[in-house]
């Protein structure tokens, strides 16, 4: 990145692992919420999942750099 990566190489792996664990746990909690069939929750869950996917994608890109 031209302005210097905010994600330093040092410590990035640990951060990615922690972030991935959090995202996975969040995904499981969304699954749980979806299973409970709470009215009006489906759209919200979908929106959160989109953000989760986008974060994963960004983290992958950071990892490549």
């Amino acid at each position: 990145m031209s302005d210097g990566p905010a994600f330093q190489k040092a410590g990035s792996s640990a951060f990615h692992q922690d972030a991935e664990e959090l995202l996975t746990e969040l995904g499981l909690s969304l699954d749980r919420l979806l299973d409970l069939d709470v009215r009006e929750s489906e759209h919200l869950i979908s929106e959160v999942r989109i953000i989760v996917d986008q974060i994963r994608s960004e983290l992958r890109d950071v990892g490549k750099n």
Binding site: M1, S2, D3, G4, P5, A6, F7, Q8, G11, F15, D18, A19, L22, L23, E25, L26, S29, L30, R32, L33, L36, V38, E40, S41, E42, H43, L44, S46, E47, V48, R49, I50, I51, V52, D53, Q54, I55, S57, E58, L59, D61, V62, N65
Partner: protein, 269 residues
Amino acid sequence: MPFAAGLHDSLQFRDNQVPIELANGESLKDVLSKYLVAVEAVSAPDVITSVLLLSADGKRLFHGAAPRLPQTYCDAIDGTEIGPHVGSCGTAAYYGRPVYVSDIASDPSWADYRHIALPHDLRSCWSTPIRDPNGDVIGTFAVYRPVVGGPSEKAIQAIEMITEHVAQAIILARSVQDRAGPAPRRFEAPRLKLVASNEPEAPANDQSTRLLELAEKMELKAADLDDLADRTASKQAVEAARKAAELSRQVAESIRAKVDNGPNPRRPA
């Protein structure tokens, strides 16, 4: 039939959310992704949808949204020049009419592209032009399926309805973009501005900035999950919503903490 009842209600719900989301600075890609997620939620499980956006010169199609298409596939077709035999979408945009390819493996339009699609189990692709109020093509909406076959009459009606709603969202997003001032003629609405208006805007393509934006969005969704918990009677559901909200905040905080340890893209040196 690949599309179930409830599609109309889902699209209307989305329509109501779009002005709010755009006002909050969400990108066109985010808005379109939510439309497609909503469509797929009321569709057969094997339905995968996508939106491609036509370039300003009307020559190329660029990725708009496709939450369930493989990234490698999206990357491979991003920026493809439209033409008379350019898959379903490139051909649909070129002729300005729907192109329903029932068998990607044998259709001549896919001769140069089937090697990209078939490994992902994309066997049929029905594409419909998205038009602006003047009737000009501004993109394409496509339905991919892992089976060979064309759309039924009901499916075509559903596709037409989806395409109209998506067109409105694109037009609204672009009008918001136009009001916000000139921007590079790409296909996203202005990105979420996390900084105060008198501060310099962060670089649009900076990964750290994008992650901070996502952290901000995640926090907003955490608040929505708390609201959901407040409105829910079931104890189990309250606990699940609270847990999801808490984890969403942890994700956001984790990103912020990491980004803040590096050079802050919002504060130029």
